[in-house]
């Protein structure tokens, strides 16, 4: 369980959000929705401990919560040399010193299998399709068995069917593995289809809704 208590973030010239309160249960699928620049990514960074809030705090039910984060942009060009497996392995926290031991190899294999990349593991990431790349980013984020998986606009660069396929995969991780998901997006249709609850970032207020069905396109009206 993650509890956001009176969380605020302000910069000298702008208040991003004020007194945000909500609770995220284990196994939840939350979508954080809002326009660009409303503070969605900042909230996520505060959650991961990469930024400090101006006031308020976050309470966890575990002493050390592990996060897997899939950022929005990646700079993988066609001449990128690493295979999908080696790319995923970059984030593998090895229990051995430099070389992988049996446990490490199993975790790596598990992440590749869960994302459907096992048969493509030898393919150079630079030559993979957009959807395969995104799956590799996802596999890299889950390779250390996180408690919470955060997808930050991760579907933004994909076409319609690739988006759906990736989200189906995320859904299966949520349902079968019990992984808590935070999906940051401005694609309300995708959020509505896959998330259970949502946190709406509006210029005026931040609202937590338990019922995803109440989400419609009006959330983006000024």
């Amino acid at each position: 369980m993650i509890e956001f208590i009176n969380l605020s973030k302000a910069f000298p010239d702008k208040t991003l959000f004020k007194n945000v309160n909500f609770t995220l249960e284990d196994g939840d699928f939350l979508s954080i929705i809002g326009k660009n620049g409303t503070g969605k990514t900042t909230l996520v960074k505060i959650l991961m401990g990469l930024e400090k809030p101006t006031s308020g705090h976050i309470k966890f039910n575990k002493s050390k919560l592990k996060f897997g984060y899939v950022p929005q942009f990646r700079n993988i060009e066609t001449d990128y040399p690493l295979s999908i497996q080696s790319f995923v392995e970059l984030n593998l926290k090895k229990t051995g010193f430099i070389f992988k031991n049996k446990k490490d190899r199993l975790r790596l294999r598990d992440a590749l299998q869960k994302t459907g990349l096992w048969d493509l593991r030898g393919l150079r990431l630079g030559l993979a399709s957009g959807g395969e790349k995104q799956k590799a980013y996802l596999a890299q984020a889950i390779v250390n068995n996180p408690d919470v998986l955060i997808l930050d606009e991760s579907t933004a660069s994909l076409d319609g069917s690739a988006k759906e396929k990736l989200m189906e995969l995320v859904k299966s991780l949520n349902e079968e593995q019990g992984l808590t998901i935070i999906f940051v997006t401005h694609d309300y249709l995708l959020a509505k289809k896959f998330a259970h609850k949502y946190l709406l970032f509006d210029q005026k207020q931040i609202e937590m809704k338990e019922d995803i069905a109440s989400l419609d396109e009006r959330v983006f009206e000024d």
């Binding site: 401990g49 899939v70 950022p71 040399p81 690493l82 295979s83 970059l90 984030n91």
Partner: protein, 264 residues
Amino acid sequence: MFQYEFMRQAFIASTFIAITCGVIGVFVVARNMSFLSHTLSEIGFAGAAFGVLVGISPLFGMILFTLVSSILVGSLSSKKERSESSTSAISSLFIGAGILFLALSSKTSSYATNILFGSIVGISRENLIELVALAIVILVTVIIFFRKLSFDSFDSIGAKAAGLPTVFLSVIFLTMVALSVSIGAQVVGSLLVFVLLTLPGATAKFFANSVGKLFAVSIGLSLAGVWVGLILGYYTNWPVTFFISIFEVLSYFIGLLKNKIKTN
């Protein structure tokens, strides 16, 4: 060939330097910072000339200049669009300074030639110990930070997202490049040290698709280059640097050709 002390020393020094440059070169290429090794080559020349002028070891003059400036160049070049012009500006400044330092010192032009083009065969026992010690410092540092340096070099966005201290890792990387330039220049000269620091790493991209294999190929090519250079240099009396450059450039073009054939 190995009955001569100077050849034995040259082989030992070159072996350590080649391994070091082969390792650091993979990080240089992965970070798209080949231009940095070019710039540091020229800065290294100015540093060595400065050492000659003030009466300290050219190697330490080089280390001093490359260390300070690698951090400077690294921060100046963090924006891609600025990297080319900042590189040219800094290179011009340091080549000019190097020429001035040499002109002001009383050393002969052959000394300048040694700095610019390398003088591995003339290495003293004292220099050999310095070089090997520095190479070991670099390699041990890389082993300590290996996973984090690899993650940050091959996927800087992912590394940042995973909470790695990327600024600290950049400083470690830049320091290691500066030290590698300083010791690599002892074999191939400051003018061509980027040959050892970029080409084996760049060629490795054509033949390997994992972090471990990239290092293995890069170290292998770097070692083969300096050994071939020393052997051919010994028998022909031609400059060692020439053979090393030719070997590394040919390897690169073979890799490029293989890649073209494969993609067509």
